[in-house]
């Protein structure tokens, strides 16, 4: 069987083939879960919000305009659901997540993570979890979901410049850590 496109699956669901929505779920569940886990920092919450996002997407399929990609439309639902969840839990409010920290301070966390890591891959993966939610979310969208900066900007509501600034700051902060702990010499 050929690989159906997102649009073909959605058209089929709209024609009444409800079971075909499982194809969309299988296609996006892990990527959506990774994004949510990096935003919410909790497996249980991430799965709950992901489920809620898929239900919202199913109910709103008739509003999906095909002038944008389905993935962009779906990730916007996921991102907004996570923001609503965060503000309802009073952990963070929307304003906090959409503002930019001027300084990304990671040196204390870096020392601890360095002590726990066996190699640079482990170190970087653990350090991603130490980044502010907004930073790790944008890294996730850019590197795992292969989104362009423009798409990330549309989903998060941040300006294109701010998205780029966050991406560069994340890289630079981790680069400083790599240099500090001489990981570059180990690999070169």
């Amino acid at each position: 069987m050929r690989n159906l496109s997102d649009i073909e699956i959605i058209e089929s669901v709209k024609r009444g083939n409800q079971a075909d929505f499982a194809l969309i779920i299988d296609r996006y569940k892990d990527k959506g879960f990774s994004l949510l886990k990096r935003m919410l920092r909790n497996d249980f919450d991430a799965e709950e919000v992901l489920q809620d996002s898929f239900l919202k997407a199913y109910k709103s399929l008739s509003f999906f305009r095909q002038d944008s990609k389905f993935s962009t439309w779906f990730y916007r639902i996921v991102y907004n659901s996570a923001l609503t969840f965060l503000s309802s839990k009073r952990r963070r409010n929307e304003k906090d997540l959409s503002s930019l920290e001027d300084h990304l301070e990671l040196s204390d966390a870096g020392v601890q993570v360095y002590a726990e890591s066996e190699n640079v891959a482990q170190f970087v993966n653990k350090m991603i979890e130490k980044l502010p939610e907004k930073y790790s979310t944008i890294l996730n969208m850019f590197y795992i979901d292969d989104m362009s900066l423009d798409e990330i900007s549309k989903i998060t509501g941040l300006s294109l410049v701010n998205v780029k600034v966050i991406l560069h700051r994340s890289r630079n902060a981790l680069r400083d850590m790599v240099l500090k702990h001489n990981y570059n010499e180990e690999l070169l």
């Binding site: 669901v13 409800q18 929505f21 879960f33 799965e47 109910k59 970087v124 993966n125 630079n172 981790l174």
Partner: protein
């Protein structure tokens, strides 16, 4: 010596640097070990980010979610094409009318044979004579000049309305796509 800025190094990583900027960077990297180390470290980070861990949901996630979707009352029903049905119905009515008119015309052209009529023939004759009466009364009604003009106007309005309905249907279909 002036070092390369973080922004330029990031642009290099993203392949956004070209032409003069790229050659300047390459020349500088030949003589500056500090910038070279920064670039190498940045490349390591970029490579590690590309191999960033993807997390997985529980195995029965899709199954559980589909059960919830099946339970909710909201279903996408197959789209019914009312326009198509309307056209088919109109076609059938017109065909029936033409058929009746043809039967009447054939009947009028065949000379009557004096014989004992069957019950259905009598019934058909009665129905066709009634239909002829109605037809002639309509013919009388539209025979006057003013009514002919009104009739033409009405026909024009109906045609325009059908065209507008058809166009709006086409537009709505396009928007859905």
């Amino acid at each position: 010596m002036r070092h390369i800025s973080d922004e330029i190094l990031n642009k290099y990583i993203d392949n956004e640097l070209e032409g003069e900027g790229l050659s300047e960077l390459n020349e500088h990297l030949k003589i500056c070990s500090s910038c070279l180390a920064r670039l190498k470290a940045l490349r390591i980070v970029d490579q590690q980010f590309r191999m960033m861990e993807t997390f997985h949901v529980s195995g029965d996630f899709t199954q559980n979610l589909m059960k919830k979707i099946e339970k909710i009352s909201f279903h996408y029903a197959p789209k019914k094409s009312y326009f198509f049905r309307f056209v088919v119905a109109l076609f059938l009515v017109l065909t029936a009318a033409i058929l009746i008119a043809a039967i009447l015309a054939v009947k009028a052209s065949v000379p009557a044979v004096p014989s004992e009529p069957a019950w259905y023939k009598t019934a058909f004759d009665a129905a066709s004579s009634k239909f002829s009466d109605i037809l002639s009364s309509y013919k009388d009604l539209f025979s006057s000049r003013s009514l002919s003009i009104v009739g033409s106007g009405l026909a024009f309005i109906i045609l325009v309305s059908i065209y507008i309905v058809y166009e709006s249907f086409k537009e709505a279909k396009g928007r859905l796509r």
